[in-house]
Subunit: 361 residues, 4 copies
Amino acid sequence: MPSNFFGDFFRITTWGESHGKALGLTIDGVPAGINITPELLIAELKWRKPGSNLTSPRQEQDYPEILSGVFENKSTGAPISILFYNNNAEKSQYSTIKDKLRPGHANYTYLEKYGIYDHNGGGRASARETVCRVAASAIAKVLLPQNIKIYTYISNIGDISLPKDYTPSAEDLAQILNNPIFCPHKETADKMIKAIEEVKAEGDSLGGTVSFLMQGVPSGLGDPIYQKLEAKLASAMLSVPASKGFEVGMGFKSTTLKGSEHNDSWYNDNNSITQTSNNCGGILGGISTGAPIYGKVAFKPTSSIKIAQQTVTTNGENTNFSIPKSGRHDPCVAIRATAVVKAMCYLTLADSYLANKLAKV
Amino acid sequence: MPSNFFGDFFRITTWGESHGKALGLTIDGVPAGINITPELLIAELKWRKPGSNLTSPRQEQDYPEILSGVFENKSTGAPISILFYNNNAEKSQYSTIKDKLRPGHANYTYLEKYGIYDHNGGGRASARETVCRVAASAIAKVLLPQNIKIYTYISNIGDISLPKDYTPSAEDLAQILNNPIFCPHKETADKMIKAIEEVKAEGDSLGGTVSFLMQGVPSGLGDPIYQKLEAKLASAMLSVPASKGFEVGMGFKSTTLKGSEHNDSWYNDNNSITQTSNNCGGILGGISTGAPIYGKVAFKPTSSIKIAQQTVTTNGENTNFSIPKSGRHDPCVAIRATAVVKAMCYLTLADSYLANKLAKV
Amino acid sequence: MPSNFFGDFFRITTWGESHGKALGLTIDGVPAGINITPELLIAELKWRKPGSNLTSPRQEQDYPEILSGVFENKSTGAPISILFYNNNAEKSQYSTIKDKLRPGHANYTYLEKYGIYDHNGGGRASARETVCRVAASAIAKVLLPQNIKIYTYISNIGDISLPKDYTPSAEDLAQILNNPIFCPHKETADKMIKAIEEVKAEGDSLGGTVSFLMQGVPSGLGDPIYQKLEAKLASAMLSVPASKGFEVGMGFKSTTLKGSEHNDSWYNDNNSITQTSNNCGGILGGISTGAPIYGKVAFKPTSSIKIAQQTVTTNGENTNFSIPKSGRHDPCVAIRATAVVKAMCYLTLADSYLANKLAKV
Amino acid sequence: MPSNFFGDFFRITTWGESHGKALGLTIDGVPAGINITPELLIAELKWRKPGSNLTSPRQEQDYPEILSGVFENKSTGAPISILFYNNNAEKSQYSTIKDKLRPGHANYTYLEKYGIYDHNGGGRASARETVCRVAASAIAKVLLPQNIKIYTYISNIGDISLPKDYTPSAEDLAQILNNPIFCPHKETADKMIKAIEEVKAEGDSLGGTVSFLMQGVPSGLGDPIYQKLEAKLASAMLSVPASKGFEVGMGFKSTTLKGSEHNDSWYNDNNSITQTSNNCGGILGGISTGAPIYGKVAFKPTSSIKIAQQTVTTNGENTNFSIPKSGRHDPCVAIRATAVVKAMCYLTLADSYLANKLAKV
């Protein structure tokens, strides 16, 4: 059943497997008149690419071929199709493990559901699909008001966290991309890097949390009841491979507070109605207040590890499983997920932004 | 724009305001041949009703009038319309506060979005809408395999939590409904009740967390990429008023683990492929494994408190705001949210269950 | 599966059976700030009501109870729920025919599909559902630019047709509602009335064609490829009970023409780009040109007739079937269908009108 | 806004312009386990290709590159992406006419709607998009019960029609593809061919009607109210470029009949409930009866003609327009539309077939 699309207005449909010939997407719903060039997409895609010893050695050029919907560098209102060829897929390493259930992976559930599974590189279930989301987000970004700024960063890796009550300064935020682990706090970043290098050496992996922060979002985005902005964000984030949790504003911490502590007061600040605090995370009743929207997304440790684990074959024989030494996997998926979480923020906002054009007569 | 519907297959559309004449819903997509009676709905609705001194004194009969789609107690395939009259709405108390922004409430954002707001009882943004979800869930429950059991319970209220690493026994689960706070652990429940009574006396409120546990869910539910079962659940839960976070399986705790700790191993248990642990929470690659699905939903403290708070009028004048002493609000929304979280579990499963009929030829 | 809704933006979901307690609809997607009163709806509903000896003697008050989404006579952006009680349903007459397949009716196909059927008055398959469409269209009308005028009228009943090449004048159009058969040409109307009275006396029925004409539709409505304005209209019209065909512009006649005859030329008429003719019917490439949109919808003769027909029982026994003498059926469904075709025009335009707000940045 | 997709279950999303680098589609919703090869698609695509002097001289290889969703020749449940390169697009001929409104074409309405237009070969509005529909239909065909047979044929071209009351025999139907005009009646076909050759010589074009006949469709397909099978077919057919009308069963002719003439009687034919006639065209109440489904689709004459026509430039200057002598256009779009109408039949049935799996528990 159709489940490869995201968005009701700015609708992306993605396709392709990790080790197929190509993967890509179609965006149906881009208004006409937007400037679009491959360079815009490449700029956004750069971040998601493996680029350090903390990430997978698989090297894909990820050049976005724009095949339709753009005429003389402007969107025409027609669907935009973007294609990426897979140039660096190595199928050979999968032949030896193709009949084994991979702990933490989707092959068991895909087999149960579909009775067939493309085992090469995880097939459709691979995080490689997220390249399409990032490409789409570059177009969403052009569509949205240009004062919107979205930051995503790592707030913990394993048990190494940002300092308690730390809030990144504007300066810190500006440094995120200069840092292989995308953590705004230098000292913590160094510890995180060391921790990842250690588990990598062991053939193991680590979980991590990605924080997001959206500044400049206008009030009024999000729709009541089942299309609340936080509900759309939650769905967007839990669709990212390996994510296990989402919170907005004070999130789970708000469960420990009293109403008098959590409520944000309103006041008139020089003829502008504003709040004394932003515990709600920029959303009330499912609709943006105009204040920054912030929250977190939890990522489990990478399932593909080189340490032997107990498993069974698809025929039910007990056996062991480990990713071959040559296997190319991220020791911590949260790192590159910062680019994907950011992409999902843009895609969610773009959809809500278009929806909001219909709120009033 | 349409945002009052949930589900692609088992689709509910809800309507109505807190203090209007009635509210209700239409379910479009119920297969023909299911047994449906008002009694089935009443049984499920009972839980959600205020029933103790821990909840709102508003007394609504919540009798579900089934107006269509059922013939001789069986669903016909036609849409099922259910209506609830509002019998105990008191509009008068809202007239004095109608021009004030309510901290933590949706009136500011609704005004920004729509330019108009029904202030009576929170209008459309009121949690009263959830009565429709619970009614719908009773029908979803009949549709689903009868061995599915769903439990929801309170795992913390403010800083009072279930004991670390506590897992409720079957006996504990059976006791949840016998207890005004829906906490399976008697000793903790007593502390929670006391804490709520204290904040209630102060005119304040408390946040809390609702845990969910679904047993007997068949493998194969959920769809790849953007309709992953966890993404649908996340969206469902964040659509519940006052919710601020969602996690599945080990959730945020998984971010602190190594892959070798978090991965669940497979083994052949007497000709059945199963897992040595269930850290993933019963979902892999967005699709149910057949193991129990569990997780948590965070609820902020009730926004409506009787303590004075700073605010502004819709005209921008600084003023104070507090709910009148006669105001009828839950001191902790998490308590009654246990019924709504359960309803959202049923609705999400029903939708995925129908979708799954289309997976294979 | 959900199939009781129409529209992606201005979305109606209807429910209810012919002889149930009530029927109704929810409109999700009405922008905030529109004036709505029951009187507006009643004005539109009046037309559809049986009002002469040419239509069914069933008398329903058809009073629209607006239960939500309207606050102080303005739409709030929340879903609008409208309910109609069935006051004049007579179930008794259906008990004798409940086990017989009714020629031209849906009971066979509903039984094949659902295994269950509400036989009273045709259940869900009854044209009574169209009362909901007309009510919704009154709100669509308020939403649309007020210079849009939509006319529908009868262009043939059986073999009695409007004169060849007749086009109704503005004066003729203004007379449509003054005439029990909604035909703009007095002489033809008289012949049609006579023809209907004759078949009615025989216990038989007649087919007819409804023409539609929409003036003042702005250019730009309709969307490329699968949401072409003519495709949406076609779907809307073929969803009306008893309809068997749809055409726009020259329709089937265009198949007999040459391109040089059918093409409409463009010219500059005093700084306005316009066409020398309007053979295309106001739509090019699926998008409105700004010229009048016109076309036709074919309605088969009423299936319910009082003449005996051969049929079988649901158990397969050969038998005869005829509607009881007391049966209340329209001798020609096309007459009242003029109101429903008009409603579907409004609903389709409203949906396209909202969609069009998203075409350009 | 998204308008380039068709189907709710078997959902195709198409993209690409007539003279772009490529065009293609994604099918999201193909159940797992279906046999798919390029050869299957090529077999279906062959028909749509220009193949005689009655059609456009543009020669495209139309080789379908299947880029995803198929593993070892079987569908996996993942989206299937298919791409066609445009190899024979000639942009040069469009440069001279790019600023002229083309009578009967979409450039005026696209400009009004989007403010931008890809003039090369008609851009997105070109019938070249239909290659995607035919490719998708080859997969829909494999999914459907194999006893379903769909025939489409020309029933009139200009004023040359099949003989009155002619019904093609099984033998005639088998000959359709052997004939450059896809007309089952040899004598009429010869006249039609002559007529087309004449208008072609004049630089003019002709309209035509495509009849469809679907045998072996099981009962129960189609859904009540707004997803009636005839409503879905009508929408599908009116989405085909140049179509102006649709009818099913007796269609517009049914408006001239009495109920006693039009109703199909039921009888028990050797323990099978069947009808004495099939005037309804195999659908009652929006749901298939199991009898053949038949009807017609009207196509206007090709808009692109080589005869000079009056028009204006996009700047509003009055001028003349004619397609260059080298222009490559079909003199009668109805001919190749037979392949597209057939494709839309398959796509509509596939969607309804999947939907029907959800009708009963």
